[in-house]
């Protein structure tokens, strides 16, 4: 039965709202953008939350890294490690980003940002140009990582006509208590924050106890400059009194320390191999690493594109040296 209500949607109206893009590319507009252009737009419009290198700032989403972590504790789910379809990235950036200024990007900008996110995930090289024509050439690593809901089969045993009512187990012990973690917001103040971080954030707390030989007392001005430049590293690394290993290892005493030295941190294979080979983070090695991490050490987990300016590298090393212990 038809009620004759509503009116025809005009083609221009449908075009204005029907923006979604499907995995097979349906809905993609003509356009293109390369990694280089993407880096610029990303730095301007995305990096404040997602970091210069798509590594994420604070609790904001990380867009890069995490490949190979999906079967680990606390997998890191990013475009590179988790998202099955590139269309999802394009579509989401196009319709929902930037946060607070959605639907302000041109099609070319969206292609460029998407290309840069692919680059940040080591999925394309820096020459790559993403367009409506090259779009279907890109396959994301986790495209085959999904199955359809199989609860009816895999959890069939939860359908149980006669659940146990008496003497269902021999003994009952308390195995875990929420109060031990103490992450619950205070009751009486409206929404007071919990003082303790959630448990999955608190990785092993380790400080180097090696005596580190420092070459010279760092120049205070250079240290101050280094502290500023270190902001780029802070999303993953901590230094100082209460520092812990987070996404990246704790960096107290890193200058002059042997590679792979933060206990309890899960280093990449590449870093472990280098450590076994006797790599020591003297100033020259650190400088080379910080300039182009993934070129210096293929397979490093550090998903950072590198510090472009030599003066920043020098300053960051001086800053780290000031926490030499």
């Amino acid at each position: 039965e038809k009620y004759g209500l509503g009116r025809p949607a005009l083609p221009e109206e449908v075009a204005a709202w029907d923006l979604d893009v499907a995995p097979d590319g349906t809905g993609l507009p003509a356009g293109s953008g390369d990694v280089f252009a993407g880096e610029e737009v990303f730095a301007e419009k995305c990096a404040v939350c997602h970091g210069d290198f798509a590594e994420g700032v604070g609790n904001w989403p990380k867009l890069a890294g995490g490949q190979g972590t999906l079967d680990h504790d606390d997998p890191l789910k990013t475009v590179g490690s988790y998202w099955p379809y590139l269309s999802t990235t394009w579509d989401y950036v196009n319709r929902s980003m930037p946060f607070g200024n959605a639907q302000s990007l041109s099609a070319d900008e969206v292609y460029a940002i998407t290309a840069y996110i692919l680059y940040s995930n080591d999925l394309v090289d820096e020459e790559f140009v993403l367009s409506n024509e090259t779009f279907m050439d890109v396959e994301l690593p986790n495209a085959d990582g999904f199955i359809l809901d199989d609860r009816l089969e895999a959890e069939k045993h939860f359908w149980n006509p006669e659940p146990c009512m008496a003497d269902c187990k021999d003994s009952v012990e308390i195995t875990m208590r929420a109060l031990v973690l103490d992450v619950t917001p205070e009751e009486d103040s409206t929404g007071a924050p919990a003082e303790t971080a959630p448990p999955d954030e608190s990785a092993a707390e380790q400080v180097f106890d090696e005596t580190v030989e420092t070459t010279a007392v760092p120049d205070p001005e250079l240290v101050a400059k280094g502290e500023k430049a270190f902001k780029k590293c802070k999303a993953c690394h901590q230094v100082g009194d209460n520092a812990k290993s987070k996404t990246g290892p704790i960096l107290n005493g890193i200058v002059g320390a042997p590679a792979g030295h933060a206990e309890g941190f899960r280093y990449s294979k590449a870093m472990k191999t280098a450590a076994e080979g006797g790599l020591v983070w003297d100033e020259a090695e650190l400088a080379a690493f910080l300039a182009k991490p993934r070129k210096y050490m293929k397979g490093t987990k550090m998903s950072f594109a590198g510090l472009k300016k030599d003066s920043d590298i020098e300053a960051v090393i001086a800053y780290l040296q000031s926490y030499s212990q």
């Binding site: 979604d20 998202w83 099955p84 659940p163 195995t175």
Partner: protein, 388 residues
């Protein structure tokens, strides 16, 4: 000694109270000011794209008042006037249409009570007991009576083409939160709703129009609904790939896990609602629900799941709506490990955490419907714990 509240004339018994219209739209009395939604700050980067929790520990019955029903926004709660509201149906239809709010009010209407649960409800408890309060462990849920139009009615008005297999539904806010829904579900019980609990939707719940997708995860209940596109394939939007998918221990992830399985929780006593009266008569109460049908029974255990007894349902369970249960006991003052276990009309029995983890591992953020344990000590206080 005689109670002065009885023997002495109180102010309220001799003076006058407020006249009508003192508060044209009423608020709860000041003494109930602690019964509010609460946020867990460390969960999200900021409150614009965030979630808070219904104070289920302090409510009774089954209907959630809108003012304390949990909120979840992806780009904040927008203000969209009815006059500015448009709903488009396009894609694989005979005639793409645009409806105004006034148009929607002219279609035959339905009233239905359904629960809306975020897929992440209890998600923080996957790896272990973490948050101490039913509000925080189970408060991403509300249950309202919706008035609106069947989505089927609107789709039939536009005329679905034979190749149409999915509908993609999206909101008018900046997040453009969109989800793909199979056509079968869209033609079954989905509502395009504009009233909840008798009054207009609150802005935080999608005023003036939201989608109601009974029994399915809350993220699909698109708020500020602006467009319905009939398609031959799913969009695979961010919210159905990057989010709201369930990663198993081997790193493979389930997608399209739409139904919310049967679940229950004791709301009182609980960490935020301790026993303050000592031993003697004690009302144990809680909520049960299932996205696969109606609740047929709830069992309660006082000893951590060793022995169970059937609780009393306040009313027979109804399809995809909250059911209130009670167990009236004479508490002897000894400690208890309180649990509840829901059963639904599909024959499903709410599993333990160990049973869920055995199938899914520790990394599934979503769809944790495990049995909850409250450890009630002799002083009446309760704590969120896990038991063997």
């Amino acid at each position: 000694a005689p109670d002065p509240l009885i023997t002495e004339v109180q102010d309220w018994a001799s003076g006058l109270g407020e006249g009508v219209d003192a508060t044209p739209y009423g608020l709860p009395i000041q003494f109930e000011s602690d019964v509010v939604r609460r946020n867990v700050e460390w969960l999200t980067a900021d409150t614009i794209s965030s979630i808070n929790f219904t104070p289920i520990h302090a409510l009774d019955g089954t209907i959630t008042p809108q003012g304390c029903a949990f909120e979840r926004h992806h780009s904040g709660a927008i203000e969209l006037r009815k006059e500015d509201y448009r709903l488009m149906i396009n894609g694989l239809v005979d005639s793409p249409l645009v409806f105004t709010y006034a148009d929607l009010e002219r279609f035959p209407r339905q009233n239905r009570v359904y629960f809306c649960e975020c897929a992440a409800n209890s998600g923080m408890e996957w790896a272990g007991a973490q948050l101490n309060g039913a509000q925080f462990t189970h408060g991403m849920i509300h249950n309202m009576e919706y008035s609106g139009v069947s989505l089927r009615t609107l789709l039939e008005e536009a005329g679905v083409s034979p190749e149409g297999k999915w509908v993609y539904v999206e909101g008018a806010d900046a997040s453009s939160n969109g989800r793909s829904i199979p056509l079968d579900k869209a033609m079954d019980d989905v509502l395009v709703a504009f009233k909840a609990n008798g009054e207009a939707l609150r802005k935080e719940h999608g005023y003036p129009v939201r989608l109601v997708v009974p029994g399915w995860e809350g993220n699909m209940w698109i708020k500020w609904l602006r467009r319905i596109e009939v398609m031959d394939q799913p969009v695979e939007s961010r919210e159905e790939t990057a989010k709201y998918t369930d990663t198993l221990a081997d790193g493979v992830s389930r997608k399209w896990t739409w139904e919310m399985d049967a679940k229950s929780v004791i709301t009182s006593p609980s960490p935020q609602a301790p026993i303050t009266h000592g031993k003697g008569p004690l009302v144990i109460t809680g909520l049960a629900w299932s996205g696969r049908g109606a609740i047929t029974g709830v069992d309660v255990s006082l000893d951590g799941g060793k022995n169970w007894q059937a609780a009393r349902l306040a009313a027979p369970g109804t399809d995809k709506a909250l059911t209130r249960f009670y167990l009236d006991i004479n508490w002897d003052g000894s400690e208890m490990l309180l649990q509840s276990r829901a059963r639904d009309s599909s024959g499903y029995v709410q599993p333990t955490k160990a049973q869920l983890r055995a199938v899914r591992g520790l990394n599934s953020i979503y769809h944790n419907n495990a049995i909850q344990t409250w450890w009630v000590t002799a002083n009446g206080e309760a704590e969120n714990v896990e038991v063997s």
